[in-house]
């Protein structure tokens, strides 16, 4: 009999989500912001798999987690292409210095 329940997994995903949000808010480098987004997506994925495993419908939640992983791959590819273009145009990737649209 194990004492691990749904709560434990949900707490881990809450902490991961908060860390991801912290990374997105505070990091200057755009690649670090992307890493924060990956943490957030993984937290959501843990929630999907944990709820489906403990809720009694094990496979359907896993399929949604699979879709989220595919979307994360597409997102990482496009975001890094955009970051490369920003680097070519501005010679840095700091999100606070790219403010050409500001008056």
């Amino acid at each position: 009999m194990s004492s691990i329940g749904l709560n434990h997994f949900l707490i881990i995903s809450s902490i991961l989500f908060s860390l991801g949000v912290f990374g997105v808010i505070t990091r200057k480098n755009a690649v670090m912001v992307l890493m924060g987004i990956e943490l957030i997506l993984n937290a959501a994925n843990i929630n999907f798999v944990a709820f489906s495993a403990y809720g009694g419908f094990p496979v359907k939640g896993q399929i949604i987690a699979l879709f989220v992983i595919v979307l994360a791959a597409a997102e990482a590819a496009i975001a890094l292409a955009i970051v490369l273009n920003i680097y070519k145009n501005f010679n840095n990737v700091n999100v606070d210095e790219i403010d050409n649209l500001r008056e």
């Binding site: 709560n7 908060s18 860390l19 690649v31 994925n45 987690a65 879709f67 970051v83 273009n85």
Partner: protein, 162 residues
């Protein structure tokens, strides 16, 4: 405290500690390598939840694909020769307060709600049932995701080439 608990806490500690390093270290390359450990720990958690295929996919796509992509992004967007690979920080104190409150509220909510908490069944291989569901019930989403991935990769190649 049986074996399941010990393995769970091991993977949980790996995940949380390395995720903390990812967001707090200044060196981007250290952050990328710690992200590897985080993703590995999350794959372990998936396996503990009985999702063997998702765990393997996590290892292949995240650790083998996305992380390499991010490392290439780090190397292509920093002048390694003259400037150390660092990332500055913005608004640390307000962000710490806000995110701390967010984490507190989330954990409070999660621990106070009495979720439907069924016993975990003995895990069996999910690959067959996942394949059946993908080819029957979720065929439209499956095909759309294929199209989306194709469009995204062509678009990414086109944007990066300009």
């Amino acid at each position: 405290m049986n074996l399941y608990d010990i393995i769970f806490y091991l993977f949980a500690i790996i995940t949380i500690v390395s995720a903390t390093f990812v967001v707090f270290t200044k060196n981007i390359v250290y952050a990328a390598y710690n992200l590897l450990l985080t993703l590995f720990g999350i794959a372990g958690l998936y396996v503990l939840l009985g999702a063997d295929f998702i765990g393997i996919v996590q290892l292949i796509i995240y650790v083998g694909g996305i992380l390499i992509l991010i490392l290439f992004g780090v190397m292509l967007t920093n002048k390694i020769t003259d400037v150390p690979i660092k990332s500055g920080v913005l608004q640390v104190i307000p962000a710490s307060i806000g995110v701390g409150m967010l984490a507190g509220i989330l954990i409070l909510i999660v621990t106070n709600i009495s979720w439907r908490n069924m016993e975990l069944t003995v895990p069996e291989s999910t690959i067959g049932s996942l394949g059946m569901l993908l080819m029957n019930e979720y065929i439209l989403i499956f095909e759309l995701l294929g199209m989306l991935l194709l469009i995204a990769l062509i678009g990414a190649a086109n944007i990066a080439r300009k």
